[in-house]
Each structure stands twice: as structure tokens, then as C-alpha cells.
Amino acid sequence: MIKSSLARKVVMALSGLFLVFFLGQHFVINITSVIAPDTFNSWSHFMGYNPLVQYLLQPILIAGVVVHFVMGFILELQNSKARGVRYVKYKGDANASWVSRNMLISGGVVLAFIALHFYDFWLPEIAYKYIESNPEDATRYHAETVHKFEPIWRMVLYIIAFVLLALHLLHGFASSFQTMGVNNKYTPTIKLVTKIYAIAIPLGFVFIAIYHHLNPITH
């Protein structure tokens, strides 16, 4: 089934929706770093040491990201081949939104961000736990996170990435329902939820980045 165009689209939509779900969960945890640092510490510690999260959910998440962007590149490559000779004049904005036509650009920036994000948080965690074999410390997460946002360039990069993620989701969230075959009386509601989610969640992450940048921990 994976051989057909519709199968590839389903893979794209399901992996995309899975990432949308993950993003929401990630936001709920991160916002506690602003409103309840102790909760943030204990939740982060749970996520970092629970074997179910570490050895089952984390690999599933990584696989989800990889499947999504690899399939995205494959689809875009095929689509570019399907056009063949380019138009001398192509008026894309006459019939489709910018966000829907540039999923590769917004997705590409998000991919670059994910690489930075891994370097910022994931690699140090892996090093801390499995390479340096440091003892468990359930109180370190909040301070480490806040420190990360001290340099202004990191805050700016995070903001840019989340703006592009918002653009990606403005098309992607509702689009995945169409792909799954849902286009009915609920479609206006799905489009509304897409707008709210795609703007509110990235805006929330931007708020967290700015908040931590403006409120450094001074010892």
C-alpha cells in the first residue's frame, strides 16, 4: 500500500497529526517552567527517567519525526518531477495560500530547528545520563532550561522557528483531515481549531523563550 500516492499521503497525515499531538503535550510541560518551576522539575525528571517514556515513547517520537520529513522530501521530489518543464509564468497566489504552497520551506526550517533543539537539550541529557553517568538530580531542569535562553541569538532562533512552525500548522493541521477523507459539515470547525491551535501553541512557546530570556537566574 505504501507504494501508492494515497498511502504516502496517509503516512504524511498520520505522522503530522502525531507530531501535533506531541507538540501540545510538550507545551503543557514547558509552560510549567514559567508558572510552576517545581512541577517542571518533577515532570521533566519523570520524562527523563521513566523507562516507558525513554525506551518506548521517545523512539516512537524520533521515528515519527524522521518518517514525516523523509516522506515530505520524497513527496516534494516526486511532485517536482511531475511538473517537469516549469512555467515561464506561474501565478500560484491566484488560487492557493502561501502556507499551503510552501510546506517544504516551513518544514525545512522546523527541521533545522529540531537539529538545534537536539543539540541544546537532547544531546546534553544523553551525555549527562548515559555517558558521564551522573547521579539523578530532580531539581536541575528548571535552571538548565532558563540558562539556555540567556543568549539573545538562541531566543531569536527559537522565535523564528516557531513562527515558521505556525505557518506549517496553519495548512498542515486541517490538511491532514482532508487527506484522511474528512471533508464534511465539521470541516469549518476543523479549520477554526487549526487556526487557534497553529497560532496559540507556537505563540506560547515564543512566550516561554522570551520569558526565560528576560528573567535569567542570577546566583
Partner: protein, 248 residues
């Protein structure tokens, strides 16, 4: 009015083409776009030059033969019309109009503005039919009750004229709007149920074989379709396909 036309000229399928400029005058607002090209061709023939080849047949918006990418949009800037129904009053004196063939790997250029759209025919042939016993005791189609809503939606899907504007407009050169219209017109009716499973699988397989792209739901096709075929048909085709795949 006076216009400058920038037209794709290509000798045959094997040659490389290029854009050529043609000034034209004496164009009336009441002319259709194709009549305007007729005027140009008359001028070219009188000068002993090769006329610009383009596809046309009914010239009343029902056959789907006329094509052309006009100023970056299939069938030009007007909505819900084919090129033969596009009037020159949609343009202004002094305009430059860029005219290109529909572009898709599955639509090879044959000459100038004419492309081979038989890929769409092959998709239709792969499943866009029902088998009916016509040996004498044929059941009258109206003997099967069909609710009004389904009948209307099937009729809407069946208005697709196979022009290929959806493919030409789509940034992915996807033929999913066409294919989904052809799947839907049968999927909605009881007569289409017997072959439903193989139909959608065969038509999607043929669509992929022809080298059309993958839909990313930009919606460009729906906007440019001269018959207003809706994206709901693509969602329906997807549902049909998934349930057919689950049945095996």
C-alpha cells in the same frame, strides 16, 4: 485593443520550445480568447508564417478540449470558465499576455500549445465505468430509487469535462481532482457499488503510473476548475481507497 502576446512555440514533441512575442491589434472585448488567437493566426498565415497550434472543439465550454495556461493560470484569470468561454474584455488595452501549454510530465507537448492529455483517458478506462447487461432485459436506471442529495452530488462530480486544468494549476501536477470526480460519480450511486473496490484501486494505480504528483491539499484545482468540482470529491476518493485497501 492592442496586446502583446508571449506564446510558447515548439515545432514538435522532440524539439526544444521557446517563448515568442507577437504584437496584435484589432482585438474586441466580445471576442473569446480563442477567437483572438484565430485573428493572430490569420495574420500569421497572411505573412506566410506558421500559425500557432492550439486545441479546441466545441467552443461552448462543454468538451474540455481547449486548454492554455494564460498569465500563469489555466483557462486564464476568469473563474468557472474554459478558455473558449473566456472573453477578451477581461483584459486591458496594452496588456502583455503570457500563453503556455499545460505543464505536466504526464501531458507531453505535441506542438506549440497542444499537449497530449490521453493520460486522463487511460485513468478513466482503468475503472471509470459500470458493467450493465445490455442483452435485452436491461433494468431501467430509474427503477432504482436514489435519494436526491446523492443524485445531485453524483451529477456534480459527473460534470467534470476532463480538461486537465486541475493538473495544470496544481503545484504538484496532481490529477486527484479529476480522478476523484470520476470515482465519485459512481461511488455515490448504487449502480457503482459492484465494482467499487477495484475501481478506486485501479484508477489510483493508473493515476500514479502516469506520473502525476501527490496532492498536498492546496486547493488550487478547485479554484481553477471550470466546472467547480469540489475538494470533497478528493476526500471521498481517499475514503473509498482506504476502505478498499482494508478489504484487500
Amino acid at each position: 485593443m492592442k496586446l502583446t502576446l508571449k506564446i510558447w512555440r515548439q515545432k514538435d514533441a522532440a524539439s526544444k520550445g521557446k517563448m515568442v512575442d507577437y504584437p496584435i491589434s484589432g482585438v474586441e472585448g466580445d471576442m473569446s480568447f480563442l477567437e483572438m488567437l484565430d485573428v493572430l493566426n490569420e495574420q500569421l498565415i497572411n505573412k506566410g508564417e506558421e500559425p500557432v497550434e492550439f486545441d479546441h472543439d466545441c467552443r461552448e465550454g462543454i468538451c474540455g478540449t481547449c486548454s492554455l495556461q494564460i498569465n500563469g493560470e489555466p483557462h486564464g484569470p476568469d473563474r468557472l470558465v474554459t478558455t473558449c468561454q473566456l472573453h477578451m474584455r477581461k483584459f486591458n488595452d496594452g496588456d502583455t499576455i503570457v500563453i503556455e501549454p499545460f505543464r505536466a510530465t504526464a501531458f507531453p507537448v505535441l506542438k506549440d500549445l497542444i499537449v497530449d492529455r490521453s493520460a486522463l483517458d487511460r485513468i478513466q478506462q482503468s475503472g471509470g465505468y459500470i458493467s450493465v447487461n445490455t442483452s435485452g432485459n436491461t433494468v431501467d436506471a430509474n427503477a432504482i430509487p436514489i435519494n436526491k442529495h446523492d443524485a445531485d452530488e453524483a451529477m456534480d462530480a459527473a460534470t467534470c469535462i476532463g480538461c486537465g486544468a486541475c493538473v495544470a494549476a496544481c503545484k504538484n501536477a496532481s490529477a486527484m481532482l479529476f480522478t476523484s470526480a470520476k470515482v465519485s460519480q459512481f461511488a455515490l450511486l448504487p449502480q457503482g457499488q459492484i465494482e467499487a473496490t477495484e475501481r478506486v484501486q485501479n484508477m489510483v494505480r493508473q493515476m500514479d503510473l502516469e506520473g502525476f504528483g501527490n496532492c498536498t491539499n492546496t486547493g488550487a484545482c478547485e479554484v481553477e476548475c471550470p466546472k467547480g468540482i469540489s475538494l470533497e470529491n478528493i476526500a471521498r476518493m481517499n475514503r473509498e481507497y482506504y476502505s478498499a485497501s482494508l478489504k484487500g
